[in-house]
Amino acid sequence: MKELIVILMSAVLVDNYVLNKFLGICPFLGVSKKSDQAVGMGVSVIFVMLVATAATWPIQTYLLNPNGLGYLQTIVFILVIAALVQFVEIFLKKFIPALHKSLGVYLPLITTNCAVLGVTINNITDEYNFIQSMVSSLGCGLGFLLAMWLFAGVRNRLEESDAPECFKGMPITLVAASIVSVAFMGFGGIIDKLFA
């Protein structure tokens, strides 16, 4: 149990996918203008990460590895994720239209989100078992949501700021992201200290 908490907390705070590992930067910069959009995107990413891990971990462990097909990982994973996202979208549209209405617009964008492919590959590389993989995916997703949500707040302020002409738009946003990232560096030692 303690091990799972460590995996979860370090994925959310210390090894934050956006601010520390630079995965999923495109949606982080693109969809973080308004906090409700940012939260919608974050929730969709958590959902897809969990579904993708639940699908790719058994495929790697029971299908690819025993047959010596480990090298097909990249191709198989991206296809599984793309197909899965399409399937989830159709399923939601048909059976839970309310949820589809709020998450649907973000789903197609997630297919080529590097955070989702990254988390599935990282789970295999770190040799996590199934439960650990699911927990780590949940943690990464939560970390993504947290970063998106915090940054949407920062960005609100940034819109009104008086930046130099050439810094307006993306450059000043990146500089702000750098400062938020410094804040997250502060969590560095927390895991060892808390659970040692």
Binding site: L19, N20, K21, F22, L23, G24, I25, C26, L29, G30, Y71, L72, Q73, T74, I75, I78, L79, A82, G104, V105, P108, L109, T111, T112, N113, C114, L117, G118, I121, N122, T125, P164, E165, C166, F167, K168, G169, M170, P171, I172, T173, L174, V175, A177, S178, I179, S181, V182, F184, M185
Partner: protein, 227 residues
């Protein structure tokens, strides 16, 4: 002359990283040093050239409706080839790049060039476009890697610079430095290119997902921006 233009436009005028703002993930993650930045640039360039050629050659055979999945399969195939070659001949670099090597599959530059250039142009033009864009990507990465390594570690490609070494600011090689250097470089490019306004925001036009993504959403977003 036209061919030269296709080759050169990727390097400065339409630099994929600094002007089009594509492929930001590897640009931030692998530029902690010059060597890893160069390795990432070369690997992505190889995939980009090969996938551009194949997609251009197959452009009449791929049905329009399923083109994005087809492109992803072609790209994923070449990424696997590059991964295996690198693991066999450059195991150090393979370890250094880690997961980011596999993530070339979802690099917006490669899918974006397939969608925006290769499917409309001939094989030779597409190959030249791939070389130009790849060079632009590699140069931007090496530039960022140099700045971060020199300021952050006091070395360049592993060579120690004795004059700077004692004053190294190690945060530049950590995550925040990546965002900071990238932001400042884009600002510099904006300053130099001012007059010819580059698209400063991530817009639907530059996004390779635009075809996949709900069109209404893009349109409403565009409308909101115009207000």
């Amino acid at each position: 002359m036209k061919k030269l233009g296709i080759l050169l436009k990727g390097i400065i005028k339409e630099n994929p990283v600094l002007v089009l703002l594509l492929g930001t993930c590897p640009a931030l993650a692998t530029t902690t040093g010059v060597i890893s930045a160069l390795a990432m640039g070369v690997a992505a360039t190889a995939v980009l050239i090969c996938s551009n050629i194949v997609i251009s050659a197959l452009r009449k055979a791929i049905p329009d409706k399923v083109r994005i999945p087809c492109y992803i399969v072609v790209i994923a195939g070449f990424v696997s080839v590059v991964q295996m070659l690198m693991q066999a001949y450059f195991p150090d670099l393979y370890d250094m790049l880690g997961v980011y090597l596999a993530l070339i599959v979802v690099n917006c530059i490669i899918l974006g060039r397939a969608e925006m250039f290769a499917r409309k142009n001939g094989i030779i033009d597409s190959a030249l476009d791939g070389i130009g864009m790849g060079l632009g990507f590699t140069l931007a990465l090496v530039l960022m890697g140099s700045i971060r390594e020199v300021i952050g570690a006091g070395t360049w490609a592993g060579i120690e610079l004795t004059a700077i070494k004692p004053y190294a600011v190690s945060i530049m090689t950590a995550a925040p430095g990546g965002f900071l250097v990238f932001g400042c470089l884009i600002a510099l490019v904006n300053k130099v290119l001012s007059g010819k306004k580059a698209n400063k925001e991530l817009s639907c036009a530059g996004c390779p997902n635009a075809a996949l993504c709900n069109k209404e959403n893009c349109e409403t977003e565009a409308k909101e921006e115009n207000k």
